[in-house]
């Protein structure tokens, strides 16, 4: 009896040990920084690395949700985030007349502005879904890319209502200027990111989430079962639009301004890079990818290898690093860690409790399966019994 309890406790520790350590790290992160750095650097690591990782991670999370559970790699997520950011600006700024005669700004407080922006981003996501979700494969990529680039040119050239090339400045979030209160803004980002992550992880276990995965794996069979496949795909886009919108709202509060540069092609590709580097099959990979992406992006220019400084050639180093990551870790950095963690667990289990090890011995994922079959959530696959899902 006590032996079983201990085994269960050990299993729980193994299952929850890493996530709890991660949560503790994220909460303590801004509090530890002042002990390691001077005030300026602590603020930089809190905002430019910490908060920005969470903001980029949320938009990548929306892409990972759509690709992992909906089978749709949408390139419109950065544009949807930017759309929410523009909406926050239009709601939040004081009423004024633009140079070309348009009246903009409703002067709402920051929270109602954000709520309206999120509703509109959800609707915009659904609209993109209605346009794109009937296509698939390369045509789907082209359609979502066209929508993203189209949105960029609309905001770039519309001076009447969207500020044109300059965009809007002077947008302040509920925690004030992030630079004046970096820790509060970091926790705001952390809470939003945590809710988005937990919410999506919960959603995919509900009946709706299972339907999404059914459609991902075999849309024809789901249609035969009576599900309205297109409608569900639009719903996935709407949810993706909402999550991307969260990132856009935090992003505009972080920068204090919004301009077309935030939704240009590079930013669209950045989201894809973050998701791939983090691991398209892992929701947490969005945040892992965002941290890796930012660290590389920020520090590549400070690297000197064999006496060669990359300060003017930092893009070469960034590109090389991403190529290496994709080659050595085809399931992203999270996939790499996950596999190492599972291997270590198996070894530990086989020493301690051979019977349990046999029970927990999940077949090792064959990389060829991953290529041939639609993407599946490796976390679900790892522990199928605990999810109540029988594959």
């Amino acid at each position: 009896m006590s032996g079983t309890a201990a085994a269960a406790g050990g299993k729980a520790a193994r299952r929850w040990g890493l996530p709890l350590a991660g949560i503790a790290l994220l909460i303590l992160y801004p509090l530890v920084l002042p002990l390691l750095f001077n005030a300026n650097q602590a603020r930089y690591w809190t905002l430019s690395i910490g908060s920005q990782s969470l903001i980029l991670g949320i938009v990548a999370l929306s892409l990972i949700f759509m690709s992992g559970y909906g089978g749709m790699v949408s390139l419109a997520q950065a544009a949807l985030a930017g759309f929410a950011a523009y909406m926050v600006a239009l709601m939040n700024l004081l009423p004024s007349t633009t140079a070309t005669g348009g009246t903009i700004g409703l002067g709402l407080p920051s929270i109602p502005s954000a709520v309206i922006a999120l509703v509109l981003a959800t609707l915009a996501g659904a609209l993109v879904g209605a346009i794109a979700s009937r296509s698939s494969g390369i045509y789907f990529l082209m359609l979502t890319l066209a929508i993203a680039v189209g949105f960029f040119y609309v905001v770039l050239q519309n001076y009447q209502f969207l500020g044109g090339h300059i965009g809007f400045a002077g947008i302040v979030g509920p925690t004030g200027q992030p630079r004046q209160n970096p820790i509060a803004f970091y926790y705001l980002c952390l809470v939003v990111a945590g809710l988005a992550y937990v919410g999506l992880r919960y959603l995919v276990r509900t009946q709706l989430g299972l339907t999404f995965q059914g459609i991902r794996d075999n849309p024809r069979r789901m249609r035969a079962l009576g599900y309205r496949v297109s409608l569900h795909r639009v719903a996935i886009f709407a949810i993706g639009g909402f999550v991307a919108g969260l990132s856009g709202v935090l992003g505009v509060w972080y920068r204090g301004n919004i301009s077309p540069g935030v939704v240009d092609l590079s930013r669209t590709i950045d989201v894809l890079i973050i998701a791939v580097v983090g691991g398209l099959g892992y929701p947490i990979g969005a945040f892992v990818g965002a941290v890796a992406f930012l660290i590389l992006d920020i520090f590549a220019s400070s690297v000197t290898l064999f006496g060669f400084s990359f300060d003017e050639r930092f893009n070469t180093l960034i590109g090389l690093a991403f190529v290496v990551i994709v080659i050595v870790a085809p399931h992203g950095l999270t996939g790499l860690v996950d596999r190492g963690w599972r291997a270590a667990r198996r070894r530990f289990s086989s020493v301690g409790a051979p019977v349990a090890a046999a029970a927990a011995d999940v077949p090792v994922e064959n990389p060829m399966d991953a290529i041939a079959a639609p993407p599946i959530d490796p976390i679900d696959q790892r522990d199928p019994d605990s999810m109540g899902i029988s594959r």
């Binding site: 540069g261 520090f299 300060d311 990551i325």
Partner: protein
């Protein structure tokens, strides 16, 4: 199994090593061994003579290394390094020095968008802890950095080559200094010359749609409109436009004396080519980065049409003044792989860095007390640069020289810009009084206006 585990460990440790290398910031560049000797023309007032000791002075350089301005961005860093090589070297030690204080330079590259420039500036100021930031390159970036500068009052920001008017003209930051002239000053002399000498009375403009071309068009129109000219139509195109057919067909075929073109690099080549192909016959007036060597050296049907194009810029390849020739010679000695002539980006960053070194020398490298003494000294710095005298006004904005040039065909059949006139001490209003109606609003798509 053992093999795969070992392989994983190797990969993991390699990744960790990459990250560790990436995290080791502060690998500031110091002068390469050869360049110390290259600063041959170090004048007597070298910064290395100042009596500074005990600390390092860290400069941050910010220019554009991606996108449409990548090549000018590389030239910008040559400008910073040339100034340091010329004024901050010591015979007995490698590196750059102010007295016994070593000067380090940390470089960062942006992609000409304000958001990225801002992040890179934050990295230099907050993470790398530089004392003085020199940059950025492009107009909108400059406006963003100025706003950021206000939140970091104890650091000094010196412009690179960004030339939007309102970086210093309206709502300036007390710790932002600009030793280069702005895009309107770069057009000084052009409007009057076009109206009075060339007799262009009706002009159409074609320019890129952001703050720097607004400033250029504005600077041209201050003089041109005041002289009595009419700008009957303005066309704004996004940076990087390749298809100008709608713009070309929009330009009236009669009643236009000249087209004012403020486009850069490949944009300009595309426009000139398509305008010539469409059979357009109007004369051209060029912005400061429109008819540079990249355009003049391109063969195409528009070549003959460019003869007689007038342009204005703070630098002229063919100025043939002693200070300029010495500067060009040093540039070629120090950067054998550089451009045929140092462009206005290299010159701007060079002048900014010279200003910084003179300010530092005036306070013997004292950056204590929130850099207050240094900033006060910097505001008073004036010097003779390669093109002429540079001083700062009350907004810490440069007053400096400007050239009007005309494109002519040389004896060898190649096009070159020949200097027509030079104006010294051009101020930011181009001599207009402060209450002039032309200064009542910021330059924009629609202002100034004289249809």
């Amino acid at each position: 199994m053992t093999f795969t585990t070992t392989k994983k460990l190797v990969i993991l440790s390699a990744a960790a090593a990459i990250l560790a290398a990436a995290c080791s910031s502060g690998n500031a560049t110091t002068a390469p061994a050869g360049s110390a000797a290259a600063g041959t023309a170090a004048p007597a007032e070298s910064a290395a003579a100042a009596s500074c000791s005990g600390h390092t002075i860290s400069l941050g350089g910010l220019a554009t290394l991606e996108g449409p301005f990548a090549v000018p961005g590389q030239d910008s860093f040559r400008g910073i390094e040339q100034a340091l090589n010329t004024f901050a070297t010591r015979a007995d030690k490698k590196g750059w020095w102010l007295g016994d204080c070593e000067i380090t330079l940390t470089k960062e590259g942006s992609d000409a968008t304000p958001a990225v420039a801002l992040e890179k500036a934050k990295k230099l100021i907050e993470q790398d802890n530089v004392d003085i930031l020199i940059g950025p390159l492009s107009g909108d970036e400059g406006l963003a950095i100025k706003d950021y500068a206000k939140t970091v009052p104890d650091k000094t920001f010196v412009n690179g080559s960004s030339a939007a008017q309102d970086t210093t003209f309206r709502d300036p930051a007390p710790n932002f200094f600009r030793f280069s002239t702005d895009g309107a000053q770069w057009q000084a002399g052009l409007g009057s010359y076009a109206y009075k000498t060339k007799n262009y009375h009706n002009v159409v403009t074609v320019a890129e749609d952001y703050s720097f071309p607004y400033t250029q068009v504005g600077g041209f129109m201050y003089e041109f409109c005041a002289a009595g000219g009419h700008v009957i139509q303005k066309n704004w195109v996004p940076l990087g436009t390749k298809d100008y057919s709608s713009v070309v067909s929009n330009i009236p075929t009669s009643g236009v004396d000249a087209i004012y073109v403020a486009l850069g690099g490949s944009d300009a080549i595309n426009f000139f080519t398509q305008y010539a192909q469409a059979g357009g016959k109007a004369k051209f007036i060029g912005g400061s980065i429109t008819v540079d060597q990249t355009v003049l050296g391109t063969t195409g049907a528009f070549q003959d049409q460019l003869v007689g194009t007038i342009t204005a810029s703070p630098t002229s390849d063919t100025a043939n003044e002693p200070a300029w020739n010495e500067y060009v010679k040093a540039y070629h000695e120090q950067f054998p792989d550089g451009l045929p002539y140092p462009g206005l980006f290299a010159l701007s960053y060079y002048n900014e860095t010279v200003g910084v070194l003179k300010g530092l020398a005036a306070v013997n490298g004292d950056l204590s007390n929130g850099q207050q003494a240094f900033m006060q000294a910097l505001a008073k710095v004036a010097f003779d640069g390669p093109t002429g005298h540079i001083a700062l006004d009350q907004n810490r904005q440069a007053i400096g020289p400007n050239y009007v040039s005309e494109i002519q065909k040389g004896a060898d059949g190649k096009l070159a810009a020949v200097v027509i006139s030079k104006a010294d001490n051009v101020n930011q209003t181009l001599g207009l009084p402060a209450d002039s109606p032309y200064l009542a609003q910021p330059v924009s798509r629609d202002f100034p206006s004289c249809p």
